[in-house]
Symmetry: C4
Subunit: 381 residues, 4 copies
């Protein structure tokens, strides 16, 4: 007798479970193009700096724009809640491990000051950088006009999970199609992880999708809620939605993989899974120029009753330029992300990111063995 199946469970894969297969043709890395385009903007780096308080402040956004990348400033973080965010940041960094969550809950209960939104955006714009800012869906209607007025170029609407349809008694749901028309500038929405949710969001007229819910194995969203899809599968499914939508409309929506990327390897796999760009948080929190000064914390950490994240030390502090471009003496994939991407594309024979979407990957879990030192040097030439 066969048991009736109420639901089927399909396998989903994360970065640690796959590997990229080299191509049948190879190409010199310096002949590979990694440009990223969003609306009328083109960036020489397909890497966004995440809207997290340990990563992006106006100074970081300006610096990173000089290297060719786009930063997202969080309009609901310490930068817009405090006149002197550096003092608050210092206190977060110095807080005791067992008190930091409680302290963060307090820090993020301070009201957002509208005037600071305008000031920061203007600072970034005056320096000649393209300015992207992020808001949560609940605050989008109130904060986006202020940001638009101040000159923002790109709006990011982001929460743990954002869908085209949200049911709420307390406020009329955000209608992305209306927002897009009102603002007349590129909108990125996230996060989402499935084909159907991505497709519904695309059909509202937005320009980019952030992909990633609980991607890290240690991400506490998975521990607290059990919710999440590993990033390779999530990116592949959202990229499939991009293809479907492109066939329907001829419009190409950017897929931005957000979360779970720790090394050059993860970054390359995100592109091989279909990403047009990636968003990095903890990697950039290691930058000497980042406001976190070697610490990092998730933006759902300070939830008042159900915090889902933890403050961490991010390891060795390194100049941003070296993280991006090397040169490096580090051999674990945590520096020279841009060089790694060019090299991987060379080995795969793919001259641009869209070709990188087509490379083959295999399922090849990382197995740690005790004879690790024997395997450590198998890379020939």
């Amino acid at each position: 007798m066969s048991i009736p199946q109420l639901k089927t469970l399909e396998r989903a894969y994360g970065f640690d479970e796959v590997a990229i297969v080299p191509g049948d043709v190879t190409i010199n890395p310096d002949q590979t193009n990694i440009n990223f385009t969003l609306g009328n903007f083109t960036f020489s780096l397909p890497i966004l700096a995440a809207a997290m308080d340990a990563v992006v402040d106006p100074a970081f956004a300006i610096l990173y724009s000089k290297f060719g990348g786009l930063s997202v400033l969080n309009l609901e973080g310490v930068q817009t809640r405090y006149e002197r965010p550096e003092e608050i940041l210092a206190q977060i960094i110095q807080a005791d491990d067992n008190k930091v969550t409680h302290f963060l809950q307090k820090v993020y209960s301070e009201p957002i000051k509208d005037n600071l939104i305008g000031e920061h955006i203007q600072t970034i714009k005056k320096a000649g950088a393209i300015c992207a800012v992020s808001v949560t869906p609940a605050n989008t209607k109130r904060l986006s006009p202020i940001a638009k007025e101040a000159g923002m170029d790109i709006l990011v609407v982001q929460s743990t999970v954002t869908t085209a349809r949200h049911i709420s008694k307390s406020y009329r749901g955000l209608i992305f199609s209306e927002l897009r028309q009102t603002l007349s500038l590129p909108i990125i929405v996230g996060n989402c992880v499935t084909y159907t949710a991505a497709l519904e969001l695309m059909r509202t007229g937005i320009d980019g999708i952030l992909v990633g819910v609980g991607p890290g194995a240690a991400c506490t969203t998975r521990e607290v809620l059990g919710i999440g899809v590993p990033q390779v599968t999530a990116t592949m499914d959202c990229a499939a939605a991009r293809a479907t939508y492109f066939k329907e409309t001829g419009k190409y929506i950017a897929i931005i993989t957000d979360g779970g990327i720790r090394t050059g390897s993860d970054l390359c796999k995100a592109f091989a899974s279909g990403a047009d760009a990636v968003m990095l948080g903890s990697v950039f929190a290691r930058a000497r120029e980042a406001p976190g000064k070697g610490y990092h914390w998730g933006m759902s950490h300070p939830h008042p009753t159900l915090p889902r994240g933890t403050r961490i030390k991010v390891g060795k502090i390194t100049p941003l330029e070296q993280i991006l471009f090397g040169p490096t003496s580090v051999t674990d994939g945590t520096e020279n992300f841009v060089g790694a991407l060019h090299t991987a594309m060379g080995v795969c024979g793919t001259p641009n990111i869209k070709d990188m979407h087509k490379v083959k990957m295999v399922i090849a879990p990382t197995i740690k063995t005790e004879g690790k030192y024997f395997q450590a040097i198998q890379c020939t030439l």
Copy 2:
């Protein structure tokens, strides 16, 4: 040449191997309903406190009922074997690690005192709580009339594995259909883990099923006997039996996932697997108000010749209210279970538990990597 297959091995999944996929619609968590109904009783919490001596005594049962939940008092534990159970509990807690199993074997060889059964049930009832008690199949005929007489509301018949048909020379098997008619009150039976065993039990007329045999990886039933089915698959299969039986009869039997739940994540996955309620043991043993005072032990631990469990320290002691509802500064999913369920249902866009049964899950094993700290804060906003 193909080898004749004498049996096929199907894959079964546990909580650590799956993740819940967010929905295409989201809903405000405060608009989600988590009520649990059994017979004519409706509880505001779909969480039962397990019939274990470190978890439930009459005082705990009364307290938990005020929060909206149902406790099950074990009629074969220290509460009914000793006039002063608190003394025995203190001795269990203080016993040396290498002597505790032997001591427990002795403790649970003391005869059950009928008068204590009546006293405890009346204490619980007088406080206005709904009273559920548990017995093993072998003692059901003797103890259930006493409990009924004293006013119990719900009977739980529980052993490691309970089936509708038990073969024994020494006593006439318990006939659940007769028991149900005699007692005329809701009966929960367990534990079971398969479609066919659950369906046979349902056809005897009982009202709820406890699902779970050896669910924990460290559960010594799996080490000692090799018996067990991981909880996601077990719950899904028993939920399939509920659907079949409902189609046959129109009667809806409660599926209660019992065992293996450590975090909010596990709890949410139990509901996503088809549970109407869950039963928690070790989680509640952490409650400041629980009789175990920070220790916990399995009820098959004291088996005289083949003990299958171990006394453990349960970790940080926390008020019951905070375990259930927060607020919390803990970020690992071990507090605010109710908030986690509401939030997960919001993210899945499911207004009630029966809709939660339909959410998609993926197979996504937890992979621990050394770069763990990088992944620890991937939860965006």
Copy 3:
């Protein structure tokens, strides 16, 4: 383009990767029968003691026969090479870790003394025990007549891998059909792990098969040679050969799972995989009465140029009776193996071993989590 497949890789399973599913009927453990029959001999225990020098000497064989089990005496070990084996055993036990392999290589280069074979067999027979002895294929022709003459009841021909057809220039291969006719007593041959190899051996007329090549994850046959099949799959495949051969001839060949069994759980899974009996080595090396005095070593350990095993401490020393029957205060499955088998058969509702062959198993890998202590007590009642 699809890649031509030169060979397919099928998944094979070991004890740690499966779990037994409880039955739809349960039965009282004291109504389950675990007898094992080989030729005209019937044993009350379906457990053989392995032909290893740390496990079986004549005294152990006699003792174990009183409990109902069968021991196999190694005719090529220290018992037949040395007049005073206890002295050699003491030296093996006391040897330094880094010299023990070299010392064992020397110990086992001493010639076998024919007279000791006769003496030991007669000692065992005089005590009223059934006497089984083991030889390697290369020595079978020389040693088996001596053993037959001395009164052996059962012959075991064992090497790492034994097949019905062996190609050698140096000696005419052993023909099992001739051997069986010459000796006229039950012959067990091993080890093998596949359907076809088992079937070919059965067709030579032998009576039992030892199943297991490199079953343990740490077995150095797998590290040194890469050879091996995990025991659940190996046992299932050889049991399938038994079924095919039974259909062909009506003769029922005993399948004896040898190796990899550490706990009651492993033992129960061997029977659920199709074993008629199991052979235990390291488990019995823990017996107070075993010659190894708390140490154990593989019999391919002393290979002169390619040793494949290691001397180990076997842990807590326990009386043989307690290992077999309990009572025990140990909760990890390492004592009361017989009780565990009866209990598992009760939970599965199987009155005898042949019914136990039919129980369902699922693939359910053991996943170790950090929250282990929470899972440690999930066994209800």
Copy 4:
């Protein structure tokens, strides 16, 4: 609704995930033949010593040829960049852990001296050894005529990934068919890992293929670039290309598995996967006669901006002869590789390497359990 699949992910396997199944016939190990043929050369050992500076210098090449094996001298390593390589080697070995990568980057920026190429090749040839040397594709046109002139027998063209078609603006790609005709000696090219890339390389007329990209779990090519295919699958796929090409042309191309082999087990599995020979690096770096004096480093380690490897200690130093042939008292598969191969072939009943290609393997992951010591001695006889 089914999600459109943009790409499928197939499972790839490494050495730790498979096991070799014993045969239905067995053969005496001394009747197995392990010869390896390349062009007109036949070697009694199917094992190449890798072109790495810690493994092969002229003295090692000469010694190893006496045992029947082929060494590859790296023409772009310290031997051809420095008049006194032993001094540079000593400095590499003594460098601090945190400075060694930087130091290696400097060491390998020294220009290659053409005269040293000639000297080393002549030294090797004068000693009567067959001389193989390696170059990278970019330097092949410049260095191969010098080496040919000096008397090299076999050319190895090797980089992380080499394809028949390389796209570059800066230099006209290397055409292997032209190179093969110009040199008129056997050419081995690598590394590659796929059916199609291998087949394209074969069609250029080369004689052997090195298989392996990032095979080790800890290989930093996988951490830095995410590129790689585990060795069992890579070898099987390239062996399938050999079969296709043989059917097309009647020419048999050697498949040489390069990387990830730590033990006799790994070595035997490479042959069972279809290898005609293997290339060992770290195993030979353990040889007392190797230039690395107990240390080893990858040849892509010194990349100026993106190093992918690390200097390691290789463990116990052992005479080369003992690593190859034993006798050994080591039981973990790290000595007597040749004996292990003969023994495995005996157990599989395969008289030569081509028959070894046909043996069955199963997927049987290595699972480490805490009860490891129990499993350590399961090898019977």
